[in-house]
Amino acid sequence: MTAILRGIAGVLAALVVWELGAQLDAPLLGPVPPPTDVAADLVAVAGTSGYWSSWQLSFERVVTGFAFALVLGVPFGLAMVTSKLVKRTAFPVFEILRPIPPLAWVPLAILFWPTQELSITFVIFLGAFYTVVVNVLGGAEQIDRRHLLAARSLGAGRLTIFLRVILPATMPSIVTGAVVGMGTTWEVVVAAELISGGGQDAAGGGLGFLVWNAYQGGDLARVVVGMISLGVAGYLASGAVRLAGRRLMPWQAAT
């Protein structure tokens, strides 16, 4: 309970600093619309269906891209873990592609895919994919060799060792990768939604597009509304992934 109160206190303190900074024309914060203006704009925009369809749209894109990142990233990472051949072949390509920012993929993403939605989802997918794979690889390095040896002695075959030793041993890293990867998807959502031309109205093209569009129109309060919406959305999404992760690892909750 006190933890929740402290969290609320922290948010309030940040709001006070922001308000004062904006009112007193402090460096950095001076040109930013104060929280009161932003709140007023938030109330205004919250009354439009476009704002909420932006939430829905961005969530759909993020969840789809993230799901593909997990479904492809975890097996790919594990394949590199279990097979030296796969790792030696695929790792250099992976490492060269990894530092390319998802934003730089936007032009190719548009060429690759037949629909706008697929292009956006692809860019979001890239944001999470590398994080997931890197964490799987890192987690596998921490597998306790004695667990593998014990499993072999006890008569476990390759499949049993994979399912009952390698997979659970890597699970904490997979979950960490998923939580961080979920965060990354929200980081790239602005870049990804640049591809979109907007929805039924300016606020309806996704939360990332909302930010971009407001910036183009010079509406700073709306930019900040979009930023905060992205932050809250990312927080909720990562929290959900963390919760799911805990479910998958009862042994960690137990201590």
Partner: protein
């Protein structure tokens, strides 16, 4: 089952080392740490192959790991993601034993090591001593021909250690066991025979029989005499390797 190392060299640590573990008896291997005792454990378990010489178990060459030769590792090697019961069932289940039967036997063994009621706990929820007992159960449930315990009680406090030694004396009676330790007291309490090892290269310096009745009394004068003999040898060995380090430096 008798297990033998016949003029074995491995990993540049063990050289021309021969020894025999007699069937149904506990052999304690004592020597300073870092003298290749774990290498010998790994050779017998089949994790490592010798560079030369032969490793035999029951007269057959050891070619790889087998449920017939199980290692209890230094510190706990229970799988933290499995409950105590699932850890003990791991071997039987991995080899296709039916769940129900595996469960029954695992429960039985856990009760024997005093872990009744802790079946559903995860290893991290158990004390150090309980973890070691669970680990003994995980090995014993497979009824292996040879048990290799590699400094199994390292890191336990003195009282727990003594308790574990008593558990071991009872649980391992009649089995073929290699018990690796740096603790002479522990070795004399548990073993039918001591192998005092020498360092660089690792070989058997001397084999000492421990012809004492069980259950054993740690203050038995005969036990103290054997302890003194082993300690004297170990001390000499330590002094020699100390001087050799001096030369190397």
């Amino acid at each position: 089952m008798t297990a033998t190392l016949d003029r074995v060299s491995a990993r540049h640590v063990v050289e021309d080392c021969s020894l025999e573990l007699e069937g149904g008896r506990t052999t304690a291997m004592i020597g300073p740490s870092g003298c290749g005792k774990s290498t010998i454990a790994f050779l017998l378990a089949g994790y490592d192959a010798p560079d030369s010489g032969r490793v035999l178990a029951g007269g057959e060459p050891v070619t790889g790991p087998s449920p017939e030769r199980l290692v209890v590792f230094q510190e706990s090697a229970l799988m933290p993601w499995l409950t105590t019961l699932d850890n003990v069932m791991f071997g039987p289940r991995a080899r296709g034993e039916r769940r129900r039967e595996a469960k029954r036997r695992a429960r039985e063994l856990l009760a024997r090591v005093g872990l009744e009621g802790f079946e559903d706990r995860y290893p991290d929820q158990l004390s150090g001593g309980m973890q070691r007992r669970a680990e003994l159960a995980r090995a014993l449930v497979n009824d292996p021909e040879l048990m290799i315990l590699d400094e199994p009680f390292r890191g336990l406090d003195a009282m727990t250690r003594r308790l574990m030694q008593e558990y071991c004396a009872e649980l391992l009676a009649g089995r073929t066991v290699l018990f690796i330790t740096t603790d002479v007291d522990e070795a004399v309490f548990l073993a039918d025979r001591l192998l005092v090892m020498e360092n660089r290269p690792t070989r058997v310096r001397r084999s000492i029989d421990v012809p004492l009745d069980r259950p054993r009394d740690r203050r038995d004068p005969a036990a103290l005499e054997i302890k003194a003999e082993a300690l004297e040898l170990l001390h000499e060995e330590a002094r020699r390797s100390f001087h050799r380090q001096g030369e190397a430096a």
